[in-house]
């Protein structure tokens, strides 16, 4: 993992000291809210519906056990004993008090964490594949690239006042688990004729105008990464619209100007910038890569795992859903579900954080990951340790066997916390997960991604859910629109709306009707929901959703 150097420590300490003074000046009345607001946002502090909210970056979703323990300390000391992991690999605290925030930032600094650029019109936390460095299908670990981008973009003087926020995602695998096609810039590490490089996507995004990213460069040599990224953001900084907030993201810039025009401008800017990069960035990247060297994997028998799997059907169910193939034989990637049926998606208590940290330290080479799907991952676990890990997780109510199933729901905080929300998300997620648990149906249904956003900004990624739910305010009442057929992977697609929305107390029944329709029409258990949708289209699902209602209306 990346270790802060003297420069990083000094920079962070100075930023935190500055913010401490800014908070003091706001409290003593020397700063107005108008003056203070941009300063607090630069440091990740929002004012939400019921309280302040502090968004802490977890760069490319990677944490050490010491960092996870410190997140637990902060949850207990300054919040209400829990934290909320988000769809951008951040953690949010929902109840900090303004005078405490400088102390919280100092506590984060002790373990090399911060909240810088988690808000505002800047380059946000750089996200990456949560299985980085562990996945069997991986070409290269994307985290050194993500770390280089983080260092380059943090406090970059040219990019502190972009037209709008700007999000990067990086993947080193052909199977895209980082939703790179729905980011302002997606970087895919690839190989061509034995040479390592990048495919660069630009102009993806969700929100009110969802767009799939377009390829701006199909092969970028490794050494050109930073000048090319700087060229893209620089062109956007000049060309991006500042007259209309809703047209300010780069996806609109690309859409309005056309990818070819944007590409020409980027290439021209790149030609200017390239000579200014002396190669020191590549030396830094090489140094960062050394810090992400794989851990010393051990070679040992895995028969205890096989035996436990045979003996205990509950352990087997967990192992079948929550483990992913590791690139080293004898190892597995463990996904710890933060989606216990009926609980809030993405929330972990301080005790749960500490337990996961202990497991990472004892069994997982001291590494944890946060996924954009709001789960926690132990990326490197020897299979012989899995029964012990499972037992400990079960004790802490963290052993839910539902990863990739319908109850593994992404949900934004919605109107229970967020001041932008138009409807609630969390209780909808809780009720749907509980419904499918009561029906004992989800393992039969198989892979199905359900994603819920409480407003059009789409933090819950509903556009790329196989089933998406968007909560709206329709004439003062919560109303939920359904989209079908979305996909956030390498075959990314935006889901299509089914028709009129459903009331808060109708939405769970509606989802059940969709799932029952799927079970009836699928060709077999091997045909997933998404495959079936792509084969038959939306009509059978629309019929299941709306025909009953029509019949009811006719009968009345």
């Amino acid at each position: 993992m990346y270790q802060y150097n003297e420069f990083d420590h000094a920079f962070l300490a100075e930023r935190n000291a500055q913010f401490r003074k800014q908070v003091e000046r706001r409290i003593d009345g020397s700063l107005t809210e108008e003056e203070f607001r941009p300063l607090r946002l630069m440091n990740g502090l929002y004012l939400q519906l019921h309280a302040y909210m502090l968004r802490v970056a977890i760069p490319y979703g990677t944490l050490s056990s010491a960092q996870m323990r410190q997140l637990a300390v902060i949850a207990e000391k300054w919040d209400k004993g829990y934290g909320h992991f988000t769809t951008r690999q951040n953690i949010q605290y929902n109840w900090p008090k303004l005078p405490d925030v400088p102390d919280i930032l100092d506590a984060l600094g002790e373990v090399n964490l911060h909240a810088i650029q988690t808000s505002g019109n800047t380059i946000r936390n750089v996200t990456a594949d949560h299985f980085a460095g562990a996945a069997r299908d991986e070409i290269a670990d994307p985290r050194p690239v993500a770390e280089l981008l983080r260092q380059w973009s943090t406090d970059h003087p040219e990019f502190q006042f972009l037209p709008r926020k700007f999000k990067f995602a990086v993947t080193g695998s052909p199977n895209d688990r980082a939703v790179t096609r729905a980011h302002d810039i997606g970087v895919r590490m690839i190989e061509r004729d034995g040479e390592a490089g990048y495919e660069v996507l630009v102009g993806g995004g969700l929100g009110r105008t969802p767009m799939i990213g377009k390829v701006i460069r199909d092969f970028l040599p490794k050494e050109d990464l930073l000048p090319y990224m700087e060229a893209i953001v620089s062109v956007y900084n000049t060309l991006g619209r500042r007259d209309n907030k809703y047209k300010a993201r780069i996806k609109i810039t690309v859409h309005e100007n056309g990818i070819d025009t944007i590409r020409d401008k980027v290439e021209a800017r790149f030609a200017e910038l390239k000579p200014l990069f002396s190669g020191v960035d590549q030396e830094m990247l090489a140094e960062i890569e050394r810090q992400f060297a794989p851990p010393a994997f051990r070679n040992g028998p895995t028969d205890t795992f096989e035996a436990a799997r045979e003996a205990d059907p509950i352990f087997r169910a967990w192992a079948d859903t929550n483990l992913t193939a590791h690139r080293v034989d004898g190892y597995a990637i463990v996904t710890i579900s933060l989606k216990k049926h009926g609980d809030t998606p993405g929330d972990a208590t301080a005790d749960q954080m500490r337990l996961m940290a202990d497991l990472a330290e004892k069994y997982g080479h001291d590494e944890l990951r946060i996924s954009h799907e709001q789960n926690v991952i132990l990326p490197h676990v020897h299979k012989s340790d899995l029964p012990a890990i499972y037992a400990a997780l079960k004790e802490a109510k963290l052993a839910t066997a539902n990863v990739g199933l319908i109850s593994d729901i992404i949900a934004c905080p919605g109107m229970d916390y967020c001041s932008l929300a138009t409807a609630r998300s969390i209780p909808v997620a809780q009720e749907i997960a509980q419904r499918f648990e009561d029906l004992k149906m989800e393992h039969d249904v198989g892979p199905l991604k359900l994603k819920i956003s409480g407003c059009i900004n789409a933090c819950g990624h509903h556009h790329v859910g196989h089933i998406g739910i968007l909560g709206l305010d329709r004439a003062g009442v919560e109303n939920y629109q359904i989209t079908l057929g979305g996909d956030g992977t390498e075959t990314a697609e935006i889901g299509q709306r089914t028709g009129p929305g459903f009331a808060y107390d109708e939405i769970t029944d509606a989802i059940e009707r969709i799932v029952r329709a799927y079970l009836e029409l699928r060709e077999g258990p091997d045909e997933t929901f998404l495959m079936a949708y792509r084969r038959v289209g939306a009509d059978p699902f629309k019929a299941a959703l709306y025909e009953d209602e029509k019949a009811k209306t006719r009968a009345a």
């Binding site: 004012l47 519906l49 019921h50 929902n94 900090p96 005078p99 809030t344």
Partner: protein, 99 residues
């Protein structure tokens, strides 16, 4: 005929804690919506909001929220204000825990 004025309260978030607060008739900030001043005159509402905006060292983002007169005091007309006066629905946190 002009549209009837929907009664209002002045609401904001407390500067230090971030809590939802309401302006009372005697110029205090209360955490309890029932104690808030229900303003039924548009001109008075505008004036009360201006006065609230001048108290920048106490609160953040004051605005006028629609209400109706209830038995025990002002009642929200919209679900957003109902959540603000109660707290989140997933945990017993916020105002519902402090009452």
């Amino acid at each position: 005929m002009p549209r009837a004025f929907t009664p209002k309260v002045v609401t904001a978030n407390a500067l230090l804690e971030g809590d939802v607060v309401y302006l009372t008739a005697d110029d205090q900030w209360t955490r309890d919506l029932k104690q808030a001043e229900l303003i039924t005159d548009e001109a008075v509402a505008d004036l009360r909001l201006l006065e609230a905006e001048r108290r920048a060292a106490e609160v953040v983002g004051p605005y006028l929220a629609d209400m109706v007169a209830g038995d025990g005091g002002p009642e929200p007309t919209h679900f957003r204000e109902d959540f603000r006066r109660t707290g989140p629905s997933n945990y017993h946190h916020g105002k519902q825990a402090e009452a």
